[in-house]
């Protein structure tokens, strides 16, 4: 059952991320599941970046954290990350004492660019693992189009070099998995949106959400959608709210600093009842913090951003597949309940890639509660469930008055206490409707046997590492998918059966644990926290868990 990891480390600008994807695709076609994680700094050239490509016959949830094949392009990278090599791992370096690969020479001889280094690596791997070279060629033709030739040549040179130098081979048998699309979390969010009917995406560039913007911009024409890079985040969400008001399903995306700036507009969306989906790809905070590193530190923010009180929904996918699914649900909720829905991702989820089997060909509905005529249209009609029927400008006979100041049913401004209270009560009823409806939605995933003693609770991208780390341990795992509405009853129920509850999260204060306490009244003192910007490695996490459960 091969479970092999390839580490490629070098400087920004040396094509590491792209290279890792090409390697991943090759082994994907060789019959394996793939997980790729990218660790990079916030500079354009230099630094010490790396990617890990995990190649496994069992679907991986995260990076392994430790490499079988370790390619360092520079000495400093080699030294810094040598502790990420498995005991039996093979290391490669340019010009040092270990297995040497003369990247520079090969590049020069082939008139190639520095960012093509990893094509040499793939050639090396092809020889060493017995990955058929035709697959390498095939992938490169697909990937590099008219630049494939050079890359194939580089791969061939790498292949030849290690063969000639009798590097020890480590064959991997052909796997039996069908080739699957390998996509980043951000790709899955994008495609989820598109599949459920998204027509507009607006954003301002920010790591690690820019890749969502870039992906959608690149494919906008093929998808028939409009993608806007606005002058700032406030403009992005206001454009979104405008388009949504005029009937287009819309998503906006940003990360911490930009999400902060959207607060006023999120309150507008909630109070004026104009739906919008907001993606927050969390990164290391506070303030500018660590733009390219991961963190789960906007949980409370997502629950409270935007002044005043209005219904909201916060969803937290835990894998690339769930990113797709939860984005679809985000749209369905936002447009049904006419309120802001936040999708909480993080850098690790959004910028790691995975081979996925997602039901892309299915159809996903976006139901709206339409106005069915009968009298004048009232944008904020008082209804039992708090949801007022929708009609859009441009529809004949309709006048849609949308209003950010407190208003009456017809949408006109009011501050008369009785009218105000009616409208506030309507929005509260809507929040209650949401809470009730969510009893029948999938709010959590539970893995294990509820009557076993140890329970881990987590939310978001930590899922992958947790699932890996508890394999074979007497530990159950409760994943929380919806932070708002919070599944109070089911969480309480499962917690009540556990002897030992541990919350695992990637922030410094234990926000999820605090949320659980605030919703259920149960204090969870066992917390495994990580907040150095790096995601949990399953092996390390397993040790932490073992320690905590004693």
């Amino acid at each position: 059952m091969p479970d092999i990891s390839v580490f490629i480390g070098g400087q920004a600008g040396e094509g590491i991320k792209r290279g890792a994807m090409v390697i991943g695709k090759a082994f994907n076609r060789f019959g394996y599941h793939i997980f790729i994680m990218n660790d990079y700094g916030s500079i354009i050239r230099g630094g010490q970046d790396y990617s890990e490509v995990r190649i496994s016959s069992v679907e991986p949830g995260s990076q392994a954290g430790f490499a079988d094949f370790f390619f360092a392009y520079h000495k400093d990278v080699y030294e810094r990350y040598l502790n990420r090599v498995k005991e039996e791992g093979v290391t490669f370096l340019e010009g040092a004492g270990v297995n040497q690969i003369p990247y520079e020479r090969i590049l020069k001889e082939n008139n190639a660019k520095p960012f093509m280094r990893s094509s040499i690596v793939l050639g090396v791997l092809s020889y060493m693992t017995k990955l058929p070279f035709e697959i390498v060629e095939e992938v490169m033709i697909n990937e590099f189009k008219d630049k494939a030739y050079t890359n194939i040549e580089l791969a061939r040179k790498g292949f030849q070099y290690v063969r000639e130098n009798h590097f020890p081979i480590r064959p991997i048998p052909e796997g039996d998995k069908m080739p699957l699309p390998i996509m980043y979390g951000n790709d899955a969010i994008a495609l989820g949106g598109v599949k459920v009917g998204m027509k507009v995406y607006a954003a301002y560039p920010i790591t690690p959400t820019s890749t969502l913007l870039d992906f959608l911009a690149m494919n906008a024409k093929r998808l028939g959608i409009s993608v806007i890079h606005a002058e700032d985040e406030i403009a992005a969400i206001m454009m979104g709210i405008g388009a949504s008001y005029a009937s287009a399903p819309v998503m906006v995306g940003s990360s911490g600093p930009g999400i902060d700036l959207m607060g006023e507009a999120i309150s507008l969306s909630g109070g004026a009842e104009v739906p919008i989906v907001i993606v927050d790809v969390q990164r290391g905070g506070p303030t500018t913090g660590m733009p390219t590193y991961t963190e789960q530190s906007d949980l409370f923010l997502s629950l409270s951003i935007g002044h005043g009180e209005f219904p909201r929904i916060v969803l937290a996918p835990g894998s690339v597949e769930e990113a797709f699914e939860m984005t679809i649900r985000a749209f369905q909720y936002a447009y049904w309940y006419q309120t802001p829905v936040i999708v909480l991702s993080d850098k690790h989820l959004s910028e790691s890639a995975k081979s996925v089997s997602i039901p892309f060909s299915e159809e996903y509905m976006l139901p709206l509660k339409y106005f069915e005529g009968g009298g004048d249209y009232k944008r904020y009609k008082l209804t039992d469930d708090g949801i007022s029927p929708l009609a859009f400008p441009g529809m004949e006979g309709i006048v849609n008055h949308t209003n950010s100041t407190e208003h009456m049913e017809d949408g006109y401004s009011t501050a008369i206490p009785e009218s105000v209270k009616l409208m506030k009560d309507k929005r509260i009823r809507k929040q209650e409707t949401i809470r009730e409806d969510f009893m029948y939605e999938e709010n959590t995933h539970f893995y294990g046997n509820p009557d076993d003693g140890n329970l881990i609770i987590a939310s978001g991208s930590t899922k992958g590492a947790i699932m890996e780390s508890i394999k074979g341990l007497p530990v159950n795992f409760l994943q929380i998918l919806t932070l708002e509405p919070f599944p109070v009853e089911s969480v309480k129920e499962i917690m009540s059966r556990a002897r030992n509850v541990i919350v695992v999260e990637e922030n410094s204060t234990g926000q999820l644990a605090d949320i659980i306490r605030s919703r259920t009244g149960v204090e969870i003192s066992k917390r495994i926290l990580k907040y150095d910007g790096r995601p949990f490695d399953p092996v390390v996490l397993r040790k932490d868990i073992e320690e905590v459960i004693g």
Binding site: P179, R222, G224, S226, A243, T402
Partner: protein, 280 residues
């Protein structure tokens, strides 16, 4: 057809907003009656300020939204549904303070929206602070000893920002204002109209403007000369030109972005299989 509502108009008696309200009403009613505009395809927007209540007074699709953020809101609406005429009312505090950046960016994009600025040189609704168009020395509540900032010149600014329709109106001259508003509404692309609007309560400039304004249309001024427009716009002292400074046709932002799509009608989901295949 009347486009007004029965809501009681709550501006101070004599407020310049009445002139704008009336001029806009006439232009709309005339053009709806004569079939050039469809009522259901008009959307009016406003931010927060005294002027902002204007959306309460018309029986037309509207979005009374947040302070300073109207240009991107308007852009989004036009993007989603190209059939809509999107007309945005904003204040000078709104357009040039909180929303300065959006105003400029909407202009340079040539978004097909109409931006109508109620420029009273003061924050009316928050009871009388200076705005970016208040003169130096203006004594408002936040500057009781006189404002120390240089005012901006909205016309020059919008020309520099590449707005394709730039005009100044005066609400004391309703006929002329109607002429400008009508041209602005039917201009294809970004229309900008700064309206000199006295605030009788906090900045009563009626006589100041009355004695100074003159109409570009009464001179041999041409509206198709960019550099001359910039120079003309610098005139703001004893004589203040009103009228259209500049007009030009250009592809709009939404057209460029959206192409031939109209999301108001389109609900179908694209085929993503090719994109997914490329990921294998």
């Amino acid at each position: 057809m009347s486009i007004t509502t029965e809501k009681k108009i709550q501006w101070c008696p004599g407020c310049g907003n009445f002139g704008i309200y009336n001029a806009f009403k006439s232009v709309l009613e005339k053009n709806i009656d004569e079939g050039r505009l469809k009522k259901e395809n008009i959307v009016i927007l406003s931010g927060i300020g005294c002027y902002g209540y204007i959306t309460n007074y018309y029986d037309i699709n509207s979005f009374h939204a947040t302070h300073g953020r109207i240009p991107p809101l308007a852009t989004g609406i036009k993007l989603a549904n190209p059939s809509l005429s999107v007309i945005a009312f904003v204040g000078d505090g709104d357009a040039y303070a909180e929303g300065m950046s959006h105003t400029i960016h909407a202009a340079r994009r040539n978004t097909d929206i109409k931006l109508i600025v109620h420029d009273n040189g003061v924050y009316g609704l928050t009871t009388g602070q200076f705005t970016p168009t208040s003169p130096r020395g203006f004594k408002g509540r936040s500057t009781p000893f006189g404002n120390v900032e240089n005012p901006i010149n909205p016309i020059t600014l919008m020309l520099v920002a590449r707005a394709t329709f730039v005009a100044r109106g005066f609400c004391g001259d309703i006929k002329h204002l109607e002429y400008i508003l009508e041209r602005a509404i039917f201009h294809k692309g970004f229309s900008f109209v700064d309206i000199l609007q006295p605030c009788v309560t906090f900045n009563d400039t009626y006589s100041f403007y009355r004695s100074r304004v003159y109409k570009l249309e009464d001179t041999d001024y041409r509206t198709d000369q960019y550099e001359k427009a910039i120079l003309k716009s610098l005139e703001f002292d004893d004589r203040i030109p009103i009228g259209i400074f500049y007009e030009k046709e250009e592809e709009s932002f939404e057209e460029a972005i959206r192409g031939t799509h109209n999301y108001f009608y389109e609900r179908q989901v694209p085929d993503i299989s090719e994109i997914v295949r490329e990921m294998i």
